[in-house]
Amino acid sequence: MKAFRIVIAILLFVIPIGARTLWFYQGVYQRSAPVITPDYSSLTVPQPLLSTPISDKSISYPMAPIVLFDVNHIDLYLFSEIKPLTDALSTLGASVRITDDNILLSEQLKQANAYVVIAPVVPFNPLEVTAIQDFVHRGGRLLVISDPTRNTLSTSSTLPTFVQPVDIANFILEPFGITFNNDYVYNLVENEANFRNIILKDFGKHSISEGLTEIVLYGAHSIKTAQTPVFTADPDTLSSLTDKGGNVVLAATGADGNVLAIGDFSFMTAPFIEVADNQILVKNISRFLLSGTRTHDLTDYPYLFSHPATFLVKDSSTSDRETVNMMGTLQKGLALLNISFSIANKPQEGKDLIVTSTFKKADEIKEYTKSFNLSFSTEPLPTAEPEGAAVQLSELAKPTPTPIGTETLFPFPVIEPTPSTRLVVNLPGFGKVSTVGTGVILYLPSPERNTLILFAENSQALLEFAGIISSGSLSGCMIQQDIALCPLTPADSGSSGTNRFP
C-alpha cells in the first residue's frame, strides 16, 4: 500500500514536468549533417605569369619619325602612364611629341608619322576629323585606345557620375569602319585575378600579334569591325551589353592597316605591362606606329624632308650674289625646322635634295622634272593686263584649256620669248601659267630621297622664292598635291625681291 502511494506521488510529481516538457519540446535537436565552413587557409591569392623586361637595340634616324600623342581632348591618361610605350618608341628612334592646343591639328599632323589618341572625352571638331582622315590616307599611323575604366568624373555632385568616352573615340574611328562598343568584356571561367581581366591566347596573323603567346587586357571595350580582327577573345569572354560571347573583338585595324583600335589602355601601364606578353605587345604597337608609309605632298610643307637637305649646285653653273644669298636664306630657314643643309654638285645618298632653276634653264634639271610632264610655250603679251601684275592665284586655280594647234608646245629646251611674247609653263592640273611673277614648286617624293624643285623667272625671283619657303609656310601659294604656284614680284615691277627678303 505504501509503495503504491509512493508511485502515485512520483507520478504526480513527474507528470506536470513531463507534460510541460512535452508541451514545448517534441524531441532533441540533432543536426543531420555537420556544419562545414570554407577552409579559409586553403585560399590563395592568384598570381599572374610575369615576364622580364625586353631590351631592344636602339635605332636612330637622321630625322626622327614623330609620334604625336593627343592631349587636347582631355584624354584621360597621364604621360607617365604611357612610359612603356614612349620608351619603346624612343628605342626605335622616334621622337615623341604631344599636341599643342595653339596649333591646328592639321598643321601638327603634317610632320607626324603617327598619331595616338587615348580615351578622349572632348569631341573632335569636323576639321580635326578631316585632318585625321587625310593623315591616315597618306600613310600616317593612327592608334586609338578607349578604355571602359577611363571615364570622365563630374565633381558637380557629391556622387560621381560617369560619361563614356567611346562615342568620342568612335567619331574619329567610324570613317575607317571601326567602332568601340559601349561595354566592357568579362570572363568568369578563365581570367587574370578578376572577371574583367581577359586572357587572350588566340591571335590573328598580324604584325601586332607577332611573338605573342598570351596577353592580358585589364578592362576592355569590345570592338565592332567588318575587317579582320587582330585580337579575338575566346567564347567564354562575354560583352556586358549582351552577356553573350563569341567573336568578341578587342583590337582591330582599318584603312589598309594604318589604323589600330584597342579596347584597353591599362595593359600598357605599370604594373600590368609586366604580365604575360604585354611588353611584347607594347613593342609591337611601337613598331606599328613607326612602320607606316607616310607620304607627303606640298600641303605638308615644310615637313617634306626626312633626311638632311642638299642644295644642288651644278658644276657648270656659277653662283652669283643672288644664288649665294638664296642658299644662305634657305639654310637659315631650314635650320629653324631642324633640317641641316649642305651644298653638293650631285644628289647625295641618304639626303634629300633642293633644286632651283629659272624657267629658261628648265632643261638643265629635266631629270628631276620629267615626271611632272611640264611643257613651255610662248604667247603674246596681253595688252589689258596691268604691267608687272602677278598672276592671280584664283585664275591659276582654274585649269586653262590648251587649244591644240594654236601654238607650239616645246617641253625642252625652253625657247627664249621675244619682246612681244611671254613664256608660259603648262602645269598638269593648273593649265598654262605665266612665268612672269610666278614661282613654281615641284615636290618629288621617293624612297631614296625627297626632292624639292623651285622655279622662278630669274635669280632675283628665286631669292625671293627662297625667302618665302624659308618662312616655313606656303600660305600665299596655290597648292595642288605635288605642285604649288606662288606669286612673286615680277622682274620688271621695279621692286627688288632682296628688299623683301634681305
Binding site: 507520478l11 510529481f13 506536470p16 508541451w23 514545448f24 565552413t37
Partner: protein
Amino acid sequence: MIAAAPSKKWGTGALLLFIVLPLIAGILLSLLVPRPIIGIIYLNDAIYSNTAQEMITQIIYAREHAEVRAVILVLNSPGGTVTDTESVYMELARLRQNKPVITMIEGMAASGAYYISSGTDYILAKPSSEVGNVGVIGYMPSPPTIYEEVYSTGPYKLWGSPRDTFMREMEMMKGGFLKAVLLGRGQALKVPSEVVLRGQIWPGTEALRMGLIDELGTQSRAYEKAAQLARITHAKVEDLRTLAGIPSIVPASFFMLTEDGKSTSYPKEPGIYYLYIPPMEKQP
C-alpha cells in the same frame, strides 16, 4: 460513499503527502522547464563593426542560453565589410552546431548579407526580396608614393600592399564567398558557379528557382520552420537584442553622407567589401 472511500483509505495526512504535495512540487518544478525561445536577430543596416558586434553578441547569447532553441535572422542589408561579414558567418557556424538558424530575407540580402544567409539552415524570402550579389567590391588604393613629412620603414607601410595585390586579394575573398555559398546551399543550388559569381541580384522568385533560397514566405512561416527544425512547439519569439541587453544606440553611419546629411550607398572608408552598391546616377 464513493468519494469518502479514498479519504478513509488515505487519510488527510497521506492525501497531502502523496497527492497534493507531489503535484504542487511537480507543477512548480515544471515551471523550471523553460518555454523555448525562437530568438530573432534583426539586421537592417550594412554589416560593419557596430552591427556585426551586436549580431555576434546576440549569437553568443543564443548559444549560451538553452531556452533559445532556434534563431531567425531577419535581414534587410546590402552586406558590408569582408571581415565583419566573416566574423558573423563564423559565429553563426558555431551556433549552428547545436541550434538551427533560419534566414528571413525581408527587403534585401545582398552580398555579405547573402554570405551570412548561406551559412544558415533554411532561407526564406519575399517574392520581391533582392537576393544575391555574390562577390567582392573595393576601391583601388592610391598608387604608392612618399611624402616629405611622412617616414615609414617599408614601401607598403603606408599603403598596405601593391595596387594589383589589392585586386588579387579580392579574387581570393571571392573564392571564399563562393565556397561558403556552395557549402551552405549544397545540392539545393541549381545553377553553376559562373552564374552565382555574376554578382547579379535576383528577386526572391528567381532566387528560389536557382536554389539560392529554400522558400518564399513570411516571418510567421519562418517561426514555424524554426520551430519545426528545433523540434519545439508553443515557443516564444523574442528579439535577441532585448534579451542580450544591447542598448539602443544610434551608431555613426557606415555610409558616406551628402552635404545635407542624407545617407548614400557608398561606404565612408576605402576598403574591400561584400557589399551591394547601387549603380551611380547618370549625369544629367
